[in-house]
Symmetry: C2
Subunit: 208 residues, 2 copies
């Protein structure tokens, strides 16, 4: 989720520029979903968006930059649709309920073809293209994970999470299983599943 994804990349905020920017994002996401990252080109994006190549190069220096901005924009839209803007995880005082709420919204997002196809294509490329992978993580994934860190820290202050727990590792107990099921098709992705992950992570597998 991007706090200010349009500030540096699209200084001209006139309606015409905004329309071009949106057309470029849509074309980039559609292309990467259809033909994969390696075969997506600036030329192809320009052609599909109905703009000149130079329009794209005025705002971005590479296809990776276009795609990352297109994804930031897509994530922003998804977060807005899910009522998660401004960017934070709700704090109702009930950590389990708040985590289940956010993970259910993520389940919905992962079942949305507009999000799923380009995300998968970019994630796949990130596995073998280390530079893209690290930018994908730093610019897209890690800022989202940081929201869980913040929420877990608040829970530690409220006594809901043990003080010695490292929130950056703790969040992986429920975020990573969902990511792996989605990425590798290792199991169904449902609300019941993510609710179960939260319960297991908070209360542990061992008897209390």
């Amino acid at each position: 989720m991007a706090q200010n994804q349009s500030s540096s990349s699209a200084p001209d905020t006139s309606r015409r520029s905004e329309r071009s920017r949106r057309a470029i994002y849509d074309a980039a996401l559609a292309l990467v979903a259809e033909v994969g990252y390696p075969k997506t080109t600036i030329e192809g994006i320009a052609s599909r968006a109905g703009v000149g190549k130079q329009t794209i190069y005025r705002w971005w220096s590479s296809k990776a930059d276009v795609l990352l901005d297109a994804f930031l924009d897509l994530s922003t839209q998804a977060a807005e649709a899910a009522g998660q803007v401004p960017y934070s995880i709700p704090d109702s005082g009930d950590l389990a309920a708040d985590l289940k709420y956010v993970l259910r919204a993520t389940v919905d997002e992962l079942h949305d073809p507009a999000f799923e196809a380009p995300s998968r294509a970019l994630a796949a490329e990130g596995l073998v293209n280390e530079e893209l992978g690290r930018r994908f993580v730093a610019q897209l994934l890690e800022p989202q994970l940081q929201l869980y860190v913040d929420r877990l820290r608040a829970a530690q202050e409220a006594g809901e999470v043990r003080p010695e727990v490292d929130p950056r590792i703790a969040l992986e107990l429920f975020v990573s299983p969902l990511a792996q099921r989605w990425l590798q098709h290792t199991g169904p992705i449902t609300y019941e599943y993510t609710d179960t992950l939260v319960d297991y992570a908070l209360h542990g597998l061992a008897p209390r």
Copy 2:
């Protein structure tokens, strides 16, 4: 980890066949690591292995079949090197210690270039090639995960894990975070990290 990966694919077990089979596996793993799955071909594997194309086609029907068998073989070798053959997770009566031991062996494997490069290439292809992805999971990943299911069931019988816990979901609390850090470069992979995952998963994030 494969219990019997050589039984159906290489019926001729003479030393010469065995030498060819090994050369084909080595060539397939090296190629997929170097040029990726899409550019790896039966011709390329045959040429690099110093065998005829027909030798490969006698034993396998596609490059996916060759690669999956090559991976099963590689996993078997890794398991043997780690003292994990026959295929089970040790049961010392201390679940935390046993899980930490196995996950530390996995950390070593993920840091081994011979394993890491081809695994990553195949995993990346599995993300966008759903048929290959599902075979990769069914033939390689899921049999390994089943070992954790077995160990967690034994722990339930011993009273170390709550009886209502679903072992197939429970194992994801420590396996999936490691997988995601490895696949997406989201954080360092160390013994301390996997030990921490086991402790958090067993005892939970909430105070006891």
